[in-house]
């Protein structure tokens, strides 16, 4: 893989549920080390797009390549052992509720990479601190955590085996502004220190401004891709409304001409 090859590349992706077409020949490239945002209206297929990359949603047509390898369905992804190259933070955290936070974080280490127990314990504690939780939270159950702590614990699990790509599904949704800002900073430092590529689905205009190097806006079943600056000047009515609406204007203040 040459340096300028995309880490994720999608060509002509078509997904549909029954008769309802979600993506119609969508193209997308994501490059190493960038924070890539996926935005769009409710029902525009943001989470479905992420699901298609992860193999959770079957694609009807099209080619999806991750790390230069063609994926498509879960079996292929399993075979390529791609799961050890990415970590996923689901919207609700999706921590296993019958396991403690510590056990949740150790699952990828022990079951995917067969790390020795004592090392897995140390690494889980490190990851826990890395995302800003206390060592005392190690033995708590997910039901004992607040919303923000669940997101952090889920992030620790996603980072457990130092993936190259981190998928975030609405990471700051449901967090208070202070926690959300702290989460943004956390993602930035992690990207810089761990050399991560981050793919995030988000609605949070502040996060977009703070974090995203490039964005894909899902409109009309396709993706409009560009930097924030270039999208601000896009003429598409939905994109204009998104960035120039009341909330958009407030969040993007100072960026616009």
């Amino acid at each position: 893989m040459a340096d300028n090859d995309p880490i994720i590349s999608i060509r002509g992706l078509v997904t549909q549920f029954g008769d309802q077409v979600i993506h119609d020949h969508l193209d997308l490239d994501i490059f190493e080390g960038e924070i890539f945002g996926i935005v769009g209206g409710s029902g525009a297929g943001k989470s479905v797009l992420m699901g298609a990359i992860l193999g959770l949603v079957p694609a009807k047509h099209g080619i999806i390549k991750v790390l230069g390898k063609r994926t498509g369905n879960l079996e292929r992804i399993m075979k390529l052992h791609l799961q050890s190259h990415w970590g996923v933070l689901f919207q609700g955290g999706a921590l296993f509720s019958s396991l403690t936070v510590g056990e949740n974080i150790q699952i990828p280490m022990k079951d995917m990479e067969h790390m020795p127990d004592d090392l897995a314990l140390e690494m889980a504690l490190i990851k826990l601190k890395m995302v800003g939780l206390e060592e005392g939270d190690f033995y708590k159950y997910p039901s004992e955590l607040s919303g923000g702590m669940v997101k952090r614990a889920a992030l620790a699990r996603a980072l457990a085996i130092d993936p190259e790509i981190l998928f975030l599904d609405e990471p700051t949704a449901g967090l208070d502004p202070i926690s959300a800002a702290a989460f943004d900073e956390l993602i930035l430092t992690l990207r810089d220190s761990l050399k991560l590529t981050v793919v995030m689905v988000t609605h949070d205009l502040d996060s977009i401004r703070r974090l995203c190097d490039r964005l894909a806006v899902l409109v009309d079943k396709r993706a409009v891709i560009g930097t924030l600056q270039s999208l601000l000047n896009n003429k598409h009515p939905w994109i204009r409304e998104y960035f120039h609406g009341v909330r958009g204007k407030a969040a993007m203040a100072g960026l616009m001409e």
């Binding site: 050890s84 509720s97 019958s98 280490m109 990479e113 067969h114 790390m115 020795p116 090392l119 140390e122 690494m123 504690l125 490190i126 990851k127 601190k129 890395m130 206390e134 060592e135 005392g136 190690f138 033995y139 159950y141 997910p142 039901s143 457990a160 085996i161 130092d162 810089d192 220190s193 761990l194 050399k195």
Partner: protein, 378 residues
Amino acid sequence: MAISTPKIEIFSKNEMVIFKPQGIWEASSANDVEKLCKNLLKNSLPPFVVFDLSELVEFDTSGIWLLDKTIQDIKKRGHQVEVKNASEAFLTLSSRLESYKPSFKHLPKPQTYIGKRIVELGKVSVNLAFLARDLISFLGQVVVGLFSSLLHPKKLRLISIVAHMERFGVNAIPIISVMSIALGLVLAYQGEEQLRRFGAEIYTINLVSISMLREVGILITAILIAGRTGSSITAQLGIMKINQEIDALNTLGLSPMDVLVIPRFLALILVMPLLAFVSDIAGLLGGGIMVFFSLDVSPQLYIHRVAEAVTLGGFWVGILKAPLFGAIIAIVSCFEGLRVEGTAESVGICTTRSVVEGIFLVTLADALLSIFFSKIGI
């Protein structure tokens, strides 16, 4: 990318040793890396140790952590350690990890085997006592809720009661009929085998009809309903609790007792005698089929003999137990459903408990009632 397995190249000079880590030092090779580092510590080392990291390019937090730990251990032994040619990325990540170093302060102390068992025994006993207390207090709440519903009949949710009666009762008729016919067949077959030895095989009909109507019909109905309906009530209420639907009801000024528990309770009480009756008839039918084929007893004669054998009292003993058993199952399953806490595992635990406790309490009540009825001579 030439070497992928992690290894350490070693160069020794008189008073000094140089370690050159190579290969991939990542989570996927953590097992090998840990062994490498442990082996390094096994040997005796000269006073000066140098780590040359110029060829370490592929690493992640686990690799850095293990390397840093090894370096610290060597330093602790009084050697002088120098790290050379570390990449920018290595240094930043390494300094970051330093601040995340685990202290192991909050990890609980391991208990001895016997200590653990004693603690567990205590916990189980206390929990059992609390369970009994909570169940009795829930029974009290249901009774209070029931009276307030009867005093204000408008609060009764008729549609909900009827819908539950359909789900708990009508839909259960096929399975209960099949099970009861099978039980009737089995009872008649086994009874006939034994009674034939005394030439009293015609009393098979008495055996089947009395045991079916007094005990077996209602017991099999209660066991089936505890498994079928009790588990579904518990799972449903449990998920509703996890989804905060119970909280939502409370904030809307609706009492979960009135909306959820009382309709299920009344539906089960009303439906159980009917199901017990279905089970009785099906059981008699099964017994009739058996004696028709093996004893050549005609249907008319069978009905005649059944009518002779069974007293009205015997029939009512079975039917009257039904609402009581329905009440037990409803209270236990609603109680367990509302005890679910937060996790998916808890739904499983409470559902199991609901079925087990339901069947246990029904059987216990049946035994007590048998003694009671025989004392008063029915």
